[in-house]
């Protein structure tokens, strides 16, 4: 569904129609989840923050303006919550930053796809991960990603091409 459709759904939600929430959720859940997962690197924790993200987005829904892509808006909320959680756990020494690895958890998936996910999160740098996931999973255009990450468009295009090349070599 195009950006226009999701904006239409959000508008209905802002007008009080809670029925459209499911559609909005299913259109955005992948990119929300992986934006959090890149930061927290933990399957269970990311699930919890994902829940918080949608509740917060709902609470702040009237502050959303259709100037920006809705996915960019909700990803920002997700990342902020993830960063806050990360910092909180760091302060409480619940995680060892230097040895943090991705806890991929168990999920029904083919062995090949398991390898692919593993490669994305180990082979790519943080910025490459973000750009690939926002573009491929989130369907955001490079221009929108550049705005979201506050980087030049050329950098985003180059980073994406480099990341895909790295994955092609590894797989």
């Amino acid at each position: 569904m195009a950006n226009k459709d999701i904006n239409e759904l959000v508008k209905q939600l802002q007008n009080g129609n809670i029925e459209v929430f499911d559609d909005i959720y299913y259109q955005t859940k992948n990119i929300v989840y992986y934006s959090i997962f890149i930061i927290l690197k933990d399957y269970q924790l990311s699930e919890d923050i994902m829940q918080d993200t949608y509740l917060k987005a709902l609470d702040k829904i009237h502050t959303y303006k259709p100037r920006a892509h809705f996915k960019s808006w909700i990803v920002t909320i997700a990342k902020n919550l993830a960063i806050n959680e990360f910092n909180r756990r760091k302060r409480e020494m619940l995680i060892d930053i230097s040895e943090q690895e991705y806890i991929l958890g168990s999920c029904a998936s083919t062995a090949e796809n398991e390898v692919l996910i593993s490669q994305i999160f180990t082979v790519l740098s943080d910025i490459e991960k973000e750009v690939v996931l926002l573009h491929v999973v989130g369907d955001l255009k490079h221009r929108e990603i550049a705005k979201l990450l506050n980087k030049p468009l050329g950098t985003i295009t180059w980073t994406y091409n480099k990341a895909i090349k790295k994955l092609k070599e590894k797989i």
């Binding site: 959720y25 399957y43 829940q51 509740l55 796809n113 692919l116 996931l133 050329g154 295009t157």
Partner: protein, 341 residues
């Protein structure tokens, strides 16, 4: 694996692995759409929003003043690079070797510059990576046993900078092409040693024909060796074809050192008399050495390409005859008992 396949698999995998927390969200006590507060008329004139509006107007006015009074900062072009394959591209760099702009010189060049790509701010290496990848995807660079040929030129007032960029460019192009299991020869061309006025004239000619100065220089070298060629019939040739042609025209002249000095003058006189170039005359002489049935009159009106073809065939025929032991017409050597000769 193609880019599209990787994209599809990433999307599919992420789809599979993303947990579904919709029910948990809906079961939360916070799951509701908050009521939008309706503003009263008084709210629009509240001190807070009014002061924000006033501050915004002030900032905008200040910015406009600054913009109008300040000089626009346009980046200084420190060097200009051209890359020719069949697509021709011009890249301008600033003093930090960062890209200011990438423009296509010809229609093929337009094919490899993605309009969605912003090159400005990238390093030269990054720009070359993107362009070579696109050239490969579009089929201008091929991964066969034949060499791809890329012509580069760096123009800069600073000779050290020029040499450094030439080396960097040559190395990067080679490294990128090799990634696609392709072979490449990078040839360098410098601006001809002419006056500024002559150079401007060359720039005009190049621009009018949608080619780079480097390509025009190569074409000129070919025309000097064989004036049966013209700019018109060479300008759309690939760099590889031009390079091979130039090389084939140069080859006969490389042997000119084997000839005695007074013989060289005879050659030049001979060439002038028949109104052909020395290179062509040397090539014709090689053919005549291999096949006496030909005469100078038969061959002098052929193009160098045709002459090269004849020379090549004669060389191969001679080689085949030498290598084939069965091809022996001397009856005295026949071991065939059935041979009544």
């Amino acid at each position: 694996m193609e880019k599209q396949d990787i994209r599809f698999r990433i999307k599919e995998t992420c789809d599979e692995r993303t947990p579904d927390v919709l029910n948990s969200i809906k079961n939360s006590s916070e799951f509701r759409v908050p009521v939008k507060n309706k503003k009263s008329l008084l709210d629009y004139f509240s001190l807070k929003s009014f002061s924000y509006s006033l501050a915004s107007v002030f900032v905008i006015a200040l910015l406009i003043t600054l913009v109008m009074t300040s000089q626009p900062s346009t980046p200084v072009i420190a060097s200009t690079i051209t890359v020719d394959i069949n697509p021709s591209i011009e890249i301008t760099l600033d003093e930090d070797d960062n890209v200011i702009n990438v423009v296509a010189i010809n229609d093929d060049g337009e094919e490899i510059i993605n309009p969605n790509t912003t090159f400005r701010g990238l390093s030269l290496d990054q720009a070359i990576e993107i362009l070579i990848e696109e050239a490969y995807d579009q089929g201008f660079i091929v991964d066969t046993t034949e060499e791809n040929v890329v012509l580069i030129s760096v123009d800069s007032d600073n000779s050290e900078l020029r040499e450094r960029l030439e080396t960097q460019l040559e190395t990067k192009i080679a490294a990128e092409v090799v990634k696609y299991s392709a072979l490449v020869r990078v040839i360098k061309e410098r601006n001809p040693d002419v006056t500024n006025e002559q150079l401007e004239n060359l720039v005009t000619i190049a621009r009018n024909n949608k080619i780079t100065i480097a390509k025009l220089s190569l074409i000129n070298k070919i025309i000097i060796l064989d004036d049966s060629y013209t700019l018109f019939n060479l300008k759309d040739q690939s760099i590889k074809d031009l390079y091979i042609l130039h090389y084939s025209l140069l080859s006969p002249i490389e042997n000119i050192t084997d000839i005695e000095p007074d013989e060289v003058q005879d050659l030049i006189d001979d060439a002038q008399e028949h109104q052909i170039t020395v290179a062509k005359l040397l090539l014709i002489n090689k053919i005549l050495e291999l096949e006496e049935a030909y005469t100078l009159e038969d061959l002098k009106d052929l193009t160098v390409r045709e002459l090269n073809g004849i020379h090549y065939k004669l060389l191969n025929t001679e080689t085949t005859e030498d290598d084939n032991p069965g091809n022996n017409d001397d009856p005295g050597n026949s071991d065939d008992p059935g041979n009544g000769n």
